[in-house]
Amino acid sequence: MSRSPRSPAPRAQIQTHRGGAPYWFLAPYLVLTTVFLLYPLLHAGVLAFYQTNGPRSRVFVGLDNFAFLLADPVFHKALKNTTIFALCSVFLQLPLSLGLALLLNSGNSKLKGFFRLVLFSPNLVGQIFVGILFGVLFTPRYGLINRFSQALIGWGLEEQWLGNPALVMPAIVITALWVWVGFNMIYFLAALQSVDKGLEEAASIDGANALAVFWYVTLPSMRHVVVFVVVTSIIGSYQLFELPLALLPQSNGSGPDNSGLTVIGYLYQVAFAGGDLGLGAAVGWTLAVIIFVISWLQIRVTGVAAE
């Protein structure tokens, strides 16, 4: 991932140990990571093989938790919903973010600052608050979104967005668009500003039209950021939980016919509402593996790591 540090430049470092100073400075991190990351991580590995009833009683069940997940249609539904959401993030939200970044990149700077601020602002609002707000915006007949779609395309005034299984996922995707389009736009904008202008000019002097310049010059020179943004949005998408929880309060975030249930929503229900921390840990591991495989594939296929 490109959030990573660059390989340490030797000249930027002081070659002596200076006693124990660096160790002392790192001690809080090391202690807290051991207690709250390493230990829980190992423990999650153990826990996944137990069935628990609350935090205090447990029975070893071997691979039963994973077998249960493999067979459970509710978990499959959750996985499917979350995957659809992740695909929408990548193929709907990111192109829109990139489009807005391109529009902003060439504007005059005062207006640019204003638009950037406005488009980014939904990110200040926590997912729970966004969910609460949009839950009301999707109200049949009176909700802002229902009224808006009626005025624009003559459809949707009476639509039960959050009560109709077919419309729950679209409602979540629309809400997520509102929140995150501006967030990824910031990354794309930063990347666009570091693209070599000379290269783009050379291409357009050579007769490439605007689209070709974008496709063959601009996009390839910002591929690191594109990969970074795609990977982080997939990781983020698979961790969707709070938005549907607040959007669909009657059903604890699962929606009619489990149409809004996400993987983490499922984890929350089995582990914290249902008390089976073992099954919860098994869901957590499954999710971790999915996220790891997708990020690894993504980085591998695009060959960014090799450079």
Partner: protein, 309 residues
């Protein structure tokens, strides 16, 4: 609202008019198109905020009558008033006695600001150690940190919950704050910023007899102020808006934070949503103020990590 369609049609028409004026190099037309698209996107983003403000102040009786605010000539205490806020701020009885909404606000402020201060200190300190010292196991430590960024936090929730039960930290703020005090993400952010601090300066500090910790605090920290500001905002927003952990760990009514309480209010006030919308409005004001104060640092801090890769 059908004027909306006419307005859109007008905008499209104006584009073609401008395009017709100079069809060879349609600079004006394209510039116009850009502004219009950006303005429409911004309007789409702002509309829910405006609607939220309107809904929080509108009286119950006219809540659904107007899309946003009532027309100016109808502004009066019968249409716009503070009833929603009054209802929200009124004391409510619970197992812990009467609890007022400001208690939750206070809890959120306490939780978010304490976490922010602690995170700022410990992440920058560790970031300084990995930016400016060579020590045994450093390469190993850095790749461990990088790997830990990939672990979804949720995986750790069930075991951490069990741990908290055993440490008797459930339903305490210590239990909520402690696990997040130093994050690999924060350490990397500060490492990025501190690598750029010239070594000559640090050595000069040493020659003057400054201790290692004082060099960090007095020399290096002032130089990375923009990153500190960005980091403060990131971590404040993170704690202020965090829901999963507070929802799981906090149990007493008088300890809950705003996201947890407002999530409960959706069901409690299902029939008068003006009340929880007023609460939502109150909940998004503090981060907004902080953001406008620090927005320049924030946006540049956000994108440093990504672009240089």
């Amino acid at each position: 609202m059908n004027s909306m369609r006419w307005a859109l049609l007008g905008m499209v028409a104006l584009f073609f008019v401008l395009y017709a004026c100079e069809p060879r190099r349609p600079r004006l037309a394209l510039g116009y198109l850009k502004i219009v698209l950006l303005a429409l996107a911004s309007a789409g983003v702002l509309a829910p905020f405006v609607w939220l403000v309107a809904a929080a102040f509108k009286d119950k009786s006219v809540l659904n009558e107007y899309v946003f605010f009532p027309p100016l000539r109808l502004w009066s205490s019968a249409t716009l008033n503070l009833n929603n806020f009054r209802e929200l701020l009124a004391g409510k009885s619970s197992v812990q006695g009467t609890v007022y909404f400001w208690q939750y606000l206070l809890n959120s402020v306490f939780f978010a600001s304490t976490s922010t201060v602690l995170q700022l200190f410990f992440c920058s300190l560790a970031g300084y150690a990995v930016a400016k010292y060579n020590f045994r196991g450093k390469a190993w430590l850095l790749s461990f940190m990088l790997g830990s960024l990939m672990i979804p936090g949720i995986l750790l929730m069930p075991p951490i919950y069990e741990l908290m039960v055993r440490l008797h930290l459930v339903d305490t703020y210590q239990g909520l704050i402690l696990p997040g005090v130093v994050s690999a993400y924060g350490i990397f952010l500060f490492r990025q910023a501190m690598i750029a601090v010239p070594n000559e300066m640090i050595d000069a500090g040493r020659v003057d007899g400054c201790g290692e910790f004082w060099i960090y605090l007095r020399l290096v920290m002032p130089l990375v102020r923009p990153m500190s500001a960005a980091f403060c905002l990131i971590s404040f927003l993170g704690s202020w808006n965090s829901f999963f952990a507070p929802n799981v760990f906090l149990q007493s009514q008088d300890k809950l934070t705003l996201p947890v309480v407002l999530n409960l209010y959706i069901a409690q006030y299902a029939n008068e949503y003006g009340v929880f919308l007023a609460g939502t409005l109150i909940a998004i004001v503090p981060p907004a103020i902080l953001f406008f104060a620090l927005q320049r640092e924030f946006i540049s801090g956000l994108s440093t990590g990504a672009v240089k890769g």
